[in-house]
């Protein structure tokens, strides 16, 4: 039995029987990372002594929901005393003195932290090519990108180096790499999961979520990390449903919308075909699917790149060389230190976004850009509010294309930004959204189906995803690595 190829819920069953110990799973994963990751570059901070020690210290109290289950963490989530660098030179050597709330919750549930995964620098990207540690490769085709920014998390799950992982999603950074790597990725409702300890990209859009091999694992992990946190005033005080149980309820009679704006020109025909087939399948399973419209969709990318970069320019201003991270050796003054730290510490995409956001907030431009963007954001949110009066969920492709080649778009930011065209709206509206495998191209690249739901109604999107998954075997296919 290859333990690394199993899901968390399968491993929990075996652990409960007592046939294996947490250290057995841990050692299998350490072996898998050693064997495979040189070719994939999904894992950036990995000290195998730490998870081994954790397994030994776990004891026999199996009451935690994730007792003995290993997990990888995206490099922008703070783990106490462990390297947390956002794959950026500017955070070289940074070890936070505290845990993110999701990390505390994972530890309380008995999970074993394995290491940190690669990402686009500060989550700025859709391909995991802007990392200071080099690009992550797609396990289905090493010439191609795994998507981004949580490309490391998606790739290590797809390559069976991991059981599951945490990612973060600001404009599609969980769902798009999940889609391109053929795994499940869930962006919860804004406010469902505490952001405390997630190094902010865009505070009003960021959300932590699971990347897993199947929907049940995503549900299991969401249940552990969700809930109100006194340390995050944007987290919402609502009870956390029992997702793993709820996803098994029937989907017959659910009303589902299919927005015409998501099947536009420029979408890859094979992607379109796979997603259409998936929609037919879901209809045959008893849901009622209907074409509909989300009229402000076309403005989402423009709005996003103003709101997200404006917030990012402010969030990233603290990396000034004063307290932590990189500081250049020779400086002549405080201003010189700020300048050299940021010149040398940030990569070019980070600089591009900081400059863009700074401009959008500047006096004289604020009204025309940032303020206008907020107004259009409200219109986009209103589209969804209207739609969800009628529909229980919305189905779309996750990404307009399958995984593209490494280097193909990195010099062309505008084309790169369009990779997020189908995922951005959910962040602007704050709604939950899952991507699940729904087919493959002739070249053998995975295609993802995106399911969007009402705010705080993760159970419905997961339920639809789970039933579709039960009726198909796309999620069981694995790349040859």
């Amino acid at each position: 039995m290859e333990l690394n190829k199993l899901t968390a819920h399968e491993l929990i069953g075996i652990l409960n029987k007592g046939d294996i110990l947490p250290i057995d799973i841990c050692n299998t994963l350490i072996g898998a990372v050693r064997k495979k990751d040189q070719g994939i570059n999904a894992v950036v901070h990995f000290d195998d002594k730490k998870p081994v020690e954790r397994c030994k210290a776990l004891g026999n109290d199996k009451s935690g929901a994730l007792w003995g289950i290993p997990i990888f963490i995206k490099d922008n989530i703070c783990v106490k005393d462990e390297l947390t660098t956002c794959s950026s030179n500017i955070l070289e050597g940074f070890r936070p003195p505290y845990n993110a709330t999701v990390i505390d919750k994972l530890l309380c549930s008995g999970a074993v932290l394995m290491g940190k995964t690669n990402m686009d620098e500060f989550a700025f990207g859709s391909s995991t090519e802007t990392s200071c540690y080099g690009a992550t490769r797609n396990p289905w085709d090493p010439e191609r990108i795994p998507g981004g920014s949580s490309g490391g998390s998606a790739a290590c799950v797809a390559a069976d180096e991991a059981i599951f992982a945490l990612g973060s999603d600001t404009g599609g950074s969980i769902r798009q790499p999940a889609s391109l790597c053929g795994v499940v990725g869930l962006k919860p409702t804004y406010g469902r999961v505490s952001r405390y300890g997630l190094i902010a990209f865009a505070s009003s859009l960021d959300q932590i979520g699971p990347i897993a091999k199947d929907v049940e694992d995503a549900a299991l992990l969401l249940k552990v990390i969700a809930g109100h946190d006194d340390m995050d005033s944007t987290s919402v005080d609502m009870p956390v449903p029992d997702y793993p149980a709820l996803i098994k309820q029937d989907i017959k009679g659910l009303k589902i919308g299919v927005p015409k704006e998501y099947f536009i020109k420029g979408i890859d025909p094979e992607v379109k075909q796979a997603v259409r087939s998936a929609i037919d399948k879901i209809e045959k399973m008893g849901a009622v699917c209907e074409d509909m419209s989300l009229p402000h969709t076309e403005y989402a990318v423009a709005v996003y790149y103003l709101v997200a970069t404006a917030e990012a320019s402010s969030n990233l201003a603290r990396f000034d060389g004063v307290q932590y991270g990189m500081r250049p050796g020779q400086v002549t003054s405080v201003i010189d230190m700020h300048k050299k730290t940021r010149q040398q510490g940030f990569g070019s995409e980070a600089k591009r976004r900081i400059i863009l956001g700074t401009f959008a907030l500047s006096s004289g431009y604020y009204d025309a850009y940032y303020s206008r963007a907020l107004k259009v954001r409200t219109l986009i949110k209103r589209d969804f509010d209207e739609a969800f009066k009628k529909y229980d969920a919305i189905l779309t492709p996750t990404s307009p294309t399958p995984a593209f080649k490494i280097g193909e778009k990195v010099e062309d930011p505008l084309t790169m930004y369009l990779s997020d065209i189908f995922t951005i709206s959910a962040n602007l509206a704050g709604i939950p959204c899952v991507s699940i495998p729904c087919g493959f191209t002739k070249a053998g690249l995975p295609v993802g189906l995106q399911i969007l739901g009402k705010a705080f109604d993760e159970e419905t999107v997961l339920k639809i995803a789970h039933h579709y998954e039960q009726a198909t075997d796309w999620h069981k296919r694995r790349p040859l690595t």
Binding site: S204, D230, S233, A317, F319, Q323, L361
Partner: protein, 476 residues
């Protein structure tokens, strides 16, 4: 040429909360550097602010006491700029929707009440503090995240003296509602000033300078006086005023240019996404209103009406809440307000000033002070002896009757003793006696002094005067 001076003041006030405004760290003054810090107030990546309810309550209390309208929705903004004492490189503040606006503060100027309008009162966080060494700079983040209230006046103030009166009034008000230590030396109260000049009657405001770095109310007044003269000089010689920020140098008593308008920051304010806007609960507003005591303005009016003391006396009495409370306690058993006010403003205040003490620090029970005043009224001690007795009371904490008995300070009213001393004084000072007889009425005071010297100041002055007059007139 005479110009009209236009001044607006920005007061920054540290609120007296137990913990910081967006985290749980203590705000106590004087801890070792960086002992009171956490990931939030150090601005560590991933940390998030959570609003301290107590800070909001105190802020609203100030706003209500300043007659401001409280915003229905509470919202925060980010003010972005780089400086090593600002760990997130932005300050959480309030920009276009402050906590409250459109208030006023009644200020007594030349015995008349003037309402200085308050433009806005908003809540924000304080920065850390830099310490520059020879070859490096150190940062103490203990102050970072301390709740800070910014109180901005309209340009309603017309002289440095009035600015001083405004600051005194605002400090008094803040002490009344017990929201801050108001200690300029410890930095819990700071003030920046905007000043411009214009021709009398002109409607447009002149070009202003913003003055910073004043660490006392007197320094504010001095800096404004300097700046008023500097600007008048420039205008007189036909030169233009440059809009700029200037620093006051107390040692040289001058203001010096710090940065011009062109060099001013673009703070790129935008709504703070980490703090969700929320409605200010109306029930809370009621609670805050009911927690506000009688404020100095109304109290002064009541003192004048009920105790028949002058505008000046009433202003001095209410200026310090502790003093006003003390004053009223004294009146409750000794119904002579003017007499009590005179002693408090005179000898008691002089002693406080000399020793740098407040009325509460002073070891003077109000029952002792009133007991002493009653002994004067009853003729047991003289007013002159009372001055000595007051100091004894403060220094020993003993009751006046006890001290008078122990030290034999009782007034001599015995006719025989007084007659004897008067007779001796007249006999020993024939020169003064002849002056008096020659028409110099004041000479009697000199004789009075001689009698007092003989009785060690204890003779009843009224009786001495009567005895002297009787003898001298009788001898004419």
């Amino acid at each position: 040429m005479a110009y009209e001076t236009v001044i607006g003041l920005e007061v920054h006030l540290q609120l007296k909360t137990k913990s910081k405004v967006f985290c749980g760290c203590s705000t106590a003054f004087g801890a070792p550097p960086n002992a009171q810090t956490c990931p939030v107030c150090l601005g560590f990546p991933g940390s998030l602010p959570v609003l301290n309810r107590q800070a909001l309550m105190l802020a609203a209390k100030v706003a209500i006491a300043l007659n401001c309208q409280i915003a229905k929705k509470i919202r925060f903004d980010r003010k972005n700029y780089f400086y090593p004492d600002l760990p997130k490189a932005f300050q959480i503040s309030q920009f276009d929707q402050p906590l409250s606006q459109h208030g006023y503060l009644p200020v007594s100027i030349d015995g008349k009440e003037k309402r200085i309008k308050i433009r806005r009162v908003h809540l924000e966080e304080d920065t850390g503090k830099l310490f520059h060494q020879k070859d490096c700079s150190l940062i103490d983040f203990n102050r970072s995240g301390t709740p800070l209230l910014e109180i901005v006046s309209e340009p309603d103030i017309n002289s440095p003296e009035d600015a001083y009166a405004y600051l005194t009034s605002i400090k008094s008000l803040l002490q009344y509602i017990d929201v801050s230590d108001c200690n300029m030396e410890e930095g819990s109260l700071r003030c920046d000033a905007n000043i411009s000049l214009r021709k009398p009657g002109a409607k447009e405001l002149g070009v202003k300078a913003e003055i910073k770095n004043m660490n006392s109310f007197k320094a504010v007044k001095a800096a404004l006086e300097y700046e008023q003269a500097r600007q008048a000089g420039l205008l007189d010689s036909g030169k233009e005023i440059v809009q700029e920020t200037r620093l006051y140098d107390a040692a040289k008593d001058v203001t010096e240019s710090m940065r011009s308008k062109e060099e001013a920051h673009d703070y790129r304010y935008f709504p703070e996404p980490d703090l969700v806007p929320f409605d200010f609960e109306q029930a809370l507003l009621k609670d805050i209103k009911s927690s506000i005591p009688e404020l100095p303005g109304p109290r002064k009016k009541r003192f004048m009406a009920d105790y028949h003391i002058s505008d000046y006396d009433a202003a001095v009495m209410v200026g310090d809440k502790a003093m006003a409370d003390y004053f009223e306690k004294c009146i409750s058993i000794h119904k002579k307000p003017k007499e009590i006010a005179n002693w408090l403003m005179g000898d008691v205040s002089a002693y406080m000033k000399e020793k740098n003490l407040t009325i509460d620090d002073l070891n003077l029970k109000w029952a002792h002070l009133t007991g002493m005043l009653k002994m004067i009224d009853d003729g047991i001690i003289s007013g002159k002896i009372a001055k000595t007795l007051l100091i004894e009371m403060i220094q020993t904490g003993k009751a006046p009757a006890q001290l008078v008995k122990d030290k034999g300070l009782e007034q001599i009213s015995d006719a025989g003793t007084i007659e004897k001393a008067v007779a001796e004084a007249i006999a020993e000072n024939p020169g003064i006696v002849s002056d008096f007889k020659g028409g110099k009425q004041n000479a009697i005071m000199a004789l009075m002094g001689k009698v007092m010297a003989k009785t060690k100041g204890k003779a009843n002055p009224k009786k001495v005067n009567e005895a002297l007059m009787k003898r001298l007139k009788g001898a004419v």
